[in-house]
Amino acid sequence: MPRKSTAQASEATPTPRPRAAKTAPPPAAPAGEEKYILRLYIAGQTRKSITAFNNLQKLCEKYLKGNYEIEVIDLLEQPQLAKGHQILAIPTLVREIPTPLRKIIGDLSDTERVLVGLDLVHKKSDT
């Protein structure tokens, strides 16, 4: 599991991280690192979907500035796409690249868990 380094990093960081994250300046995208390709699956413009999208954008701007791509897939328009990634919960965020594929469900309001899910914890600890 590639989470090993992340786990160590998260253990090393002090707990009230959300606050620390707020105060920290957004890191610049390190050159040569893989671009993040993220897909956000939603079903119509629901409150949860909008919240998720806003949360995601904020988060990416903060930790992945210039090094990410978000594709929003509305399953009401393209329902057949749900099968490919086995999407049951809405909203679901799929990190397609870098591999391995990761899924995060929910409106992404818990930033810390999103960072864990996206394997971005070490970034935060860097800052």
């Binding site: 949860k48 998720a52 329902p79 049951l88 919960a89 679901t92 929910g106 818990d110 899910g117």
Partner: protein, 574 residues
């Protein structure tokens, strides 16, 4: 999408039911599962939940033209195809023609990170897509409980399940939901709280190493249903439930007689068994029960009727071989399909499962005659109480179909013959008892009819012998010394013959004596008559002489008087 005919015309006032096509289940649910509503099928692991839901869909697609969708949360669709493909050979074809769909949703907690609120709209969207793809009318969710273990937020799962069931109802989908049985509750996560229309409970019990599957309808809102536990079996034809119908002894009876295959037994029964009656052939070991049963079966087949023979002691080949020794060739009957021999060990299944399998075979062959050889072995597969209940059901079922059923039963030598079968004897219309008669260093067979309802049967004990040309019943020797059989009968008959001869000789002798006496008497009489005749001659000669002399005397006297002239008086006076 092609065949979407509604199985029933809509009746607004009544609960519509979707027939399952599963043997027996439609009977106990009185028509099937509620149309457009969810039905919960719950039970422990390996009790047949998935199979039942799959069979519901397969039968729905093949028999009722309702396309079905199987949603699996546990097994992958390739696994499902492989597993169910062996049970339902039509499965690949149904899948290709779009009559059936299989979808696999994998939910694994390890794959998810959960942040904040969400719902299961993705599941709904995928379901809608799959349903619309084949125009599904029936859907099975196996096992939806996986959502509870797959998704961390139970509150959300519960809320979404409520929404899912309502959604399925709105789409008028007849749904089967499976759920694992929990400790003290019907399902581990309380699915029964959401599915309130129809709940079926499957159970798989092991008693004395023999498993019995049972099904019970826990509830069925808006419908009458059977409340018993119904045994069911799973075999290569799928699932069969045995309806425990209480027929209430209202079956029609026939007065037609069925020959027994043994001429003299027919005579004893005044023409044979009644069609549709139940017959018990009881006896100790080696008294010829199976031979009587096989003869009866063979006779039915030779009349062109179909017969089902359940053998619990011998294999089919063994029965055929053994019957050849008494001149009964069953091979042509088997070849022509009139006779089917099902040979199994009684311990293979629980007693009730045997019953289910008997029912199914009867449904398949539609025989006029059924032989169960022997019933006593089957009773050993369960308790006495179970056995009685089972026999009652079996006999009732046969009678309702007008099938003549013959049971053989092994009784033990150390028990009173009549007492062993006391429990089942009341179910039997005709009771034939075979017993050993041990006499003079021989063991012979005796047959008698203990009872036969509705006929003036013989009360005699017959000797029963098996010859190369079949079973024969002989007149017994009935004398002051009781029934004699075998050599004793033969020697007794020889003795009697000698006695009869002696009698005849004596009579002959006496007759000859009488004749002789008569002849002697005749002879004596003749002599007497001769004597009398000769005496008569003599006497009449004397009389003639006397008369002649008298006449000459008188002539002389007259002549003298004439000469004396006056002397007409006597000479003395003169």
């Amino acid at each position: 999408m092609a065949r979407t005919r509604k199985p029933k015309p809509p009746e607004p006032d009544r609960l519509l039911k979707a027939p399952t096509g599963i043997r027996g289940l439609d009977q106990i649910t009185r028509g099937g599962l509620p149309v457009g509503r969810p039905t919960l099928v719950c039970g422990g692991p390996g009790c047949g939940k998935s199979l039942m839901s799959m069979e519901f869909l397969v039968r729905g697609a093949t028999e009722f033209g309702e396309p079905g969708l199987f949603i699996s949360f546990e097994e992958s669709d390739t696994d499902l195809r492989a597993n169910f493909g062996s049970l339902f050979p039509e499965l690949p074809d149904l899948l290709n023609r779009g009559q059936l769909g299989i979808e696999f949703f994998r939910i694994s907690r390890a794959e998810f990170e959960e942040t904040g609120e969400y719902d299961l709209e993705g599941l709904f969207i995928q379901l809608a897509l799959a349903i619309d793809a084949i125009g599904a009318r029936r859907i099975a969710l196996d096992t939806i409980e996986t959502l509870f273990s797959g998704l961390p937020n139970e509150a959300i799962v519960r809320a979404e399940l409520v929404r899912l069931f309502r959604w399925l109802k709105d789409r008028n989908l007849t749904t089967v939901i499976t759920g694992e049985r929990g400790a003290g509750t019907l399902t581990r996560h309380g699915l029964e709280e959401y599915v309130s229309d129809c709940v079926l409970l499957l159970d798989h019990r092991i008693e004395e190493q023999i498993s019995t599957r049972r099904l019970r309808i826990v509830k069925y809102r808006g419908s009458a249903h059977g409340t018993n536990e119904y045994p069911f079996i799973i075999d290569d034809h799928g699932l069969s439930v045995l309806p425990v119908t209480s027929l209430g002894l209202a079956h029609k009876v026939s007065s037609e007689r069925v020959p027994t295959g043994i001429e003299r037994l027919d005579d004893m029964l005044v023409g044979g068994f009644y069609r549709g009656s139940s017959i018990l052939v009881a006896g100790t070991a080696g008294t010829g029960k199976s031979s009587i049963a096989a003869t009866f079966a063979g006779a039915a087949c030779n009349r062109g009727e179909r017969c089902l023979y359940f053998a619990f002691e011998e294999s089919a080949d063994q029965i055929v071989r053994n019957m050849l020794s008494i001149g009964l060739d069953l091979r042509p009957c088997i070849k022509s399909g009139h006779l089917q021999i099902h040979a199994t060990r009684p311990t293979l299944l629980g007693i009730e499962q045997h019953l289910v399998s008997i029912h199914r075979s009867i449904d398949d062959l539609r025989p006029s005659t059924v032989v169960i050889d022997p019933i006593s072995n089957m009773i050993q597969a369960g308790s006495l109480h179970q056995a009685n209940a089972m026999l009652l059901r079996l006999v009732d079922h046969m009678k309702s179909l007008g099938i003549t059923i013959m049971f053989t039963s092994l009784t033990h030598g150390d028990q009173a013959l009549e007492s062993t079968m006391i429990q089942i004897s009341s179910l039997m219309d005709t009771w034939i008892l075979l017993r050993d008669i041990e006499l003079g260093g021989e063991r012979n067979r005796g047959l008698y009819v203990i009872k036969s309802r509705g006929m003036a049967h013989s009360n005699q004990i017959r000797e029963f012998i098996m010859t190369e040309s079949g079973i024969e019943l002989l007149d017994p020797y009935l004398g002051p010394e009781g029934v004699l059989t075998g050599s004793a009968r033969l020697s007794q008959e020889a003795r009697e013959e000698a006695q009869r001869l002696a009698h005849r000789h004596q009579i002959e002798r006496q007759r000859r004596r009488l004749e002789r006496l008569e002849r002697v008497a005749e002879a004596k009489l003749a002599v007497q008559r001769e004597l009398i005749a000769s005496k008569k001659d003599e006497i009449s000669r004397i009389i003639e002489q006397a008369e002649a002399s008298e006449r000459s005397l008188r002539r002389d006297a007259e002549a003298m008087a004439r000469s004396r002239k006056a002397a007409t008086k006597s000479p003395k006076k003169a």
